[in-house]
Amino acid sequence: MKRRNFIKKASLSTFTALIGADIVFGQFLPEGYTPLALHQTDPFALFEKDKEMQVLNDRPWNMEAQAHLLDDSITPNKYMFIRNNGLIPKNIDINNWKLTIDGESVKETKTYSLAELKSKFKHYTYQLTLECGGNGRSEFNPPAKGNQWTVGAVSCANWTGVRLKDILKDAGIKKNAIYIGYHSADMHLTGDINKAPISRGVPMSKALQDETILAFKMNGKNIPLAHGYPLRLVAGGWPASASGKWLTGISIRDKVHDGAKMKGSSYRVPCKPVAPGSKVKDEDMCIIESMPVKSLITYPKTGALIQRGKKINLRGHAWAGEYGVSKMEYSIDYGASWKQCLLENPVNRLAWQHFSTTVGFPSRGYYEVWARATDTENNAQPMLLPGWNPKGYLNNACHRIAVKVV
């Protein structure tokens, strides 16, 4: 509080002196806004994250895990990636929080308080895989713009809430409904209150799935602020941007939702394959729906030195968007031969599946252990980068770790 007051009183010239450069268009800085150069924040303390998490961006906050941090069956908050498009809302008042259901295809616009949502509708808990559409972007060539995620923008936590379909049916869905779009309480980076940082959605078929929920708990506790407190739409298996945080509204649309980050190259890929580096027209881009099959070796951490004759216990998780994973394999010879891992069933649909095996090595030397999952539609992970796309989405190339036998 005191800091805010200080900031309010500080003049533009004070900021300019501190930064050592003129602030261009400084007169348009929103009141109470601290220029980024003056931010001194410990995000690990702020968001209760592990110190090994990697900060990609601090305005807006974006943070990812490393493969070995994701070893838990159920991802705890401290290892959950943060992907924000805008600024996290401040001063959340849960007693006056409202969720409005509206749009062209709602029978009756309805507003619910959090207490009503919790008391009126049945609660469900599902373990749901959320992966950023851009997870793995850093590997694309030519590079794609945006946060350069490596492998850690994925999580699978327990989410508790009410089914979206129960609420939509309570408000009434007209026959011409095609899509839903969410609205959130976060703020655009510029502070422009007329601009939504992000307002995406899913087709009705996804909105009406049992596992598509409006969650108020994550891993049995209130959702952490960075992950959408007090209410989050969770649509597992799709780009995590479809799971709107700090939810204030759902519009039932008679057309494909046209909110922020639904158009252009945002969360869209070329409808037909293109050569790397191609320019693709807007009308030739298609919205990403289910995420592709993928897996991660979470133990051991890459860089393991082992004694000759010793075996390693390998384990990790595999997931496949809307589908299940049917086969999990590993290779220690760059794909010349593959051996099968033990693969567990998911605890529920859209939850990741755990795999494990024991791996031996024939001689001393440098090895890479590559992991490859195959989904129930018979799609396997590629060893090389999959099709290039302008924003670098959907990199599901095999994960690998380095091992040296000494």
Partner: protein, 140 residues
């Protein structure tokens, strides 16, 4: 609110710690060393060719980039990206069309030149070798 208070608490503690360290160093070390401390603590300092406070490379155009680009978003959004001249130009156009970025006027040329020179792509191929491996003894 709890988070905010915690954050305030941490900020105050770390600020006090920095002041204490600077104070002790100032008392105990000679004039030359004091200059170094002052430099690294400054918001405007450059160390090893990097602007300390933003992480941006120290090169022609740096003040313009700080002034125009870090008002709304982190400099990390620049330093983690690698784009061609056309690529950076397109990002600016996209920000102007959708994200409220202003007309950069005659500064645009210098900004694009800075970005495309200092944050240019390198050829990565279809899959890079594993890099920066930190080796450790695995005991099971």
């Amino acid at each position: 609110m709890i988070l905010k208070r915690k954050y305030l608490f941490y900020s105050v503690v770390s600020l006090l710690a920095v002041i204490l360290i600077l104070f002790i160093r100032h008392k105990s070390e000679n004039e030359n060393n004091y200059e170094i401390v002052k430099e690294s603590a400054s918001f405007n300092g450059i160390k090893d060719g990097i602007h300390i406070n933003t992480g941006l490379k120290d090169a022609d155009g740096l003040p313009l980039v700080i002034a125009h680009c870090t008002g709304c978003h982190s400099a990390k959004l620049i330093t983690q990206n690698r784009l061609s001249k056309d690529g950076w130009q397109e990002v600016i156009k996209w920000m102007q069309e959708t994200q409220n970025l202003w007309d950069l006027g005659e500064d645009e040329e210098s900004i694009v030149a800075y970005l495309s020179k200092n944050y240019a792509p390198s050829q990565k191929g279809r899959r890079e070798p594993l890099k920066n491996i930190e080796w450790y003894a695995l005991e099971d």
